[in-house]
Symmetry: C2
């Protein structure tokens, strides 16, 4: 059909489907809140179908969303939408291309099911929650290109994730070239062949369909896909996706946001170690952020991950800090400065590779998780144990081998058993930066890390009585102390390290 005169087949049907339930939907069908509603139109056009722009406008009483559509190959144009409000929605498709223009329809959105909580957003300045109010405490892991390893290994990864505590995973759109990660992906994001024979004007829909399948698989497990849109890991210049033209980058951003923004479990991570991509200046990154802000009608979480140089996270499009940083004792400074949630998305990984960022002991990684959490922040896991087949979790997924994960699961239980609003370090005083984080006056948590005090003197409110429990963060035990505590009080401790003390309000005095 290429290079022939404009010729359009007007299709006699519209597909309407609501993911992730994989059902085809007729108009007027019931769609679940925060599921993906998709309008599909078949049309064979002359020229590059990826150049065709189309938009859907979705209206619910006074609320309107405008969503970009995209070409998905095989003469199929799609517009996806995630309804956030229950009730009746009308939609209209518009395009400069006449035969994709003026399609209209309607559907009914039914309220939130238990499985659908909406998207994760910032709440209470430093924390996260779903659209429906359910708290979200990020317990992330890292597996940069698990999604590009083929179905068999991906299924093993999903099985591992299904029995893990993780509710977020950092993963890349583009393939990765790195130590222990030298295999080619099965397909490529653009049409053409490596190296450097790409037609950047034409995406490869199959590549993105696989990505969507992975995101839906994660969704079924309740896991957020912290999707890394750019990364520098192509040091051997195998593909060149890290140094495309700005116009190509922007075209790609519009395409991926059009495809994926209706998936409730997507987070946008603009880049991994963005500062290692020397060709892109801060003003280029600023422009890319603004593209996403404009294109994503739902305003998914949006961040950028650093190498040695930090991006300016005070810029308004940054929803939360997604940082690489090793010294977890300093994270209160970042809270104080940016007044945004802090996720330490890379603090070193449990493993035994020769690189210093990938050979932490399990003890050290667990310690860093607690250091971060007890300072009102969240920490992300990764694992890099050498493997005879070069299947390292941090890159390809597979199985987990380390000792940190079950302690992270134990921490997750502590978090979920704590205040639903999250905890915060006090804004000043002794515990401001020393591992004390509270939800006053109900809950006081002190992580004691590598210290071993014989006792602590706490200054709790006089008005209430508190119970005390000692958490051994490595042994994963919880020991209730006898007695109760109030006001200025001395709490005698076992005098060993890696303990957390929790004081919980039990009654009013």
């Amino acid at each position: 059909m290429k290079n022939c005169r404009l010729f359009i087949t007007v299709l006699t049907f519209i597909w309407l489907s609501a993911y992730p339930f994989k059902e085809l939907c007729a108009e007027n069908q019931l769609v679940k809140q925060w599921a993906v509603f998709e309008v599909e139109m078949k049309a064979s056009i002359e020229g590059n179908p990826f150049d065709v722009e189309l938009f859907g406008t979705f209206q619910h009483e006074d609320t309107t969303f405008r969503c970009r559509g995209f070409y998905d190959g095989n003469n199929s144009f799609k517009v996806r939408f995630m309804p956030s409000l229950s009730g009746e929605w009308k939609f209209k498709i518009e395009s400069a291309n006449k035969n994709l223009n003026k399609r209209t329809g309607q559907f009914t959105c039914v309220p939130n099911s238990k499985k659908q909580h909406g998207i994760v957003q910032v709440r209470d300045t430093f924390h996260f929650g779903y659209s429906d109010g359910t708290p979200f405490f990020p317990i992330g892991t890292t597996s940069y290109v698990w999604n590009l390893q083929g179905d068999s290994l991906a299924q093993l990864t999903l099985n591992t994730l299904g029995t893990s505590p993780f509710n977020k995973i950092r993963m890349c759109v583009f393939p990765k070239d790195y130590d222990w990660n030298k295999n080619e992906p099965e397909t490529y994001p653009f049409q053409g062949n490596p190296p450097n024979q790409w037609d950047f004007s034409k995406f490869n829909p199959a590549y993105f369909q696989t990505l969507e399948k992975r995101i839906l698989q994660l969704h079924k497990l309740g896991i957020q896909a912290d999707l890394i849109l750019f990364h520098p890991y192509d040091f051997d210049e195998r593909w060149g996706f890290h140094e495309m033209e700005t116009s190509t980058d922007i075209r790609y951003l519009k395409y991926i946001v059009a495809r994926l923004s209706a998936y409730s479990n997507v987070w946008w991570s603009m880049a991994n170690e963005y500062d290692l991509m020397k060709a892109k200046t801060d003003s280029i990154w600023d422009e890319y952020f603004q593209v996403i802000q404009k294109e994503d009608p739902y305003h998914h979480l949006l961040s950028i991950h650093n190498g040695p140089k930090w991006y300016d996270h005070s810029k308004p499009w940054i929803s939360h800090l997604s940082i690489q940083h090793q010294n977890l004792k300093e994270v209160v400074d970042f809270r104080d400065k940016y007044q945004k949630p802090i996720i330490i998305d890379e603090c070193g990984y449990e493993g035994d590779i020769p690189w210093v960022w990938g050979n932490l002991t399990a003890q050290e990684l667990v310690h860093r998780f607690w250091l971060g959490y007890s300072r009102g922040c969240y920490v992300t896991h990764g694992e890099t144990y050498l493997d005879s087949l070069d299947i390292l979790w941090w890159s390809k997924g597979g199985k987990l081998h380390g000792e940190s994960v079950k302690r992270i699961e134990f921490l997750k239980e502590i978090i979920e058993n704590g205040p639903s609003e999250g905890i915060n370090p006090p804004t000043n005083g002794y515990w401001h930066k020393r591992g004390g984080s509270f939800k006053e006056p109900d809950y006081y948590l002190y992580y004691l890390g590598n210290t071993q005090p014989a006792y602590l003197v706490l200054e709790l409110p006089d008005k209430f009585t508190y119970s005390a429990e000692i958490i051994d963060t490595w042994e994963m035990t919880t020991t209730k102390l006898k007695g109760t505590y109030t006001g200025k009080c001395k709490v005698v401790l076992p005098g060993k390290d890696r303990l957390t003390l929790i004081m919980r309000r039990v009654k009013q005095n």
Copy 2:
């Protein structure tokens, strides 16, 4: 004799003595190199004898030293001198007071004995050595007022020090008021009574004589007295020595330098946590440093210790950084910036008190020692275990109870068995800030801390062959690896943490 007309007794003898051997010396006596030579003159004067200025000029061929003398009570005026050159010395005493003026004499200085190495000075930018060329690797401890606890406890402290690895101790001139340190000293540095009934124009010689006795006791053990001249620890305003007038401070500085600068094992630490003494501005501290520079003819090491705010250590009078800092991974930055030796004189103490700086585990303190040493710096010990009699080593001395000291002794053996010039991190590349420190091309040390690599790939010189040894810093074992290594080579490791790898040159290829 007070308040009567000027009346001077010209004494018929001069005391000349060479400390630390406590012998009285006649003129022409043999004095050992770097020992204390003292001229004593008895004179009863009208008015305040502490107002009398006297100076000794000591000449050896073309070399001349001018030393301030001081009043030591009991009608005794003294000038002390530390001869640095062997051979014949002449001296002359001068004073505006006629009867202390124009005394002359001579003595012979005999060369360095094995026990006398001279004073410790900076060498090779980042390290230390004695005057006679013997290297000095600071392995310090902290016992702020052990010297003010009376002879019995002081002797116990000295016994402990004598069997410890420590060759430097941080200690204060003035008494200290702090948690677990509430006892009065036996005497006071000024005449008068607490609180605030001091005659700041009159020192109490007995107080300083006790200090000198302690410094000589340390000298016999080969321990440097890192003498803290001011500190803020008088929060209950029991004595007020932390907020005297500037003129009183300067008078005190001149007096103590006159008394002590001839003691070879004295280092001047201008203040502990200087920034907690809010009344003194940086320009006042600058002035005090310049007083010491002018008054001390030998230029003993001169530093200042910080709380949250750092002094500007680039100022020329600062010989080395004596800092409080907890993150030992950052110390290469301080080397790079200041180009001076770095001693982390406070990084937290092993102990179990409730304050976070005083309840590190032994593991953590030992880890910090190695983190510092493997980055070309030196770290200082302290111990704060609660005690039924409130005798905590860090404040009063006594006994040591912790588990870190024997590991610090083990580290000291490793250091002394390494290059006499010390080791330095490379100025760039992977190991710059990651715990690799070298004396190229002879010796390469890598401290692996909380990491557990299965192997390392090193890039050693092709020209030489190296042996490899694994140090377990906690278990205190040294294991020689089989085989030899050269050029780019893989060294297989046991895959546990707290290890140090040392590559030692064994031959040329």
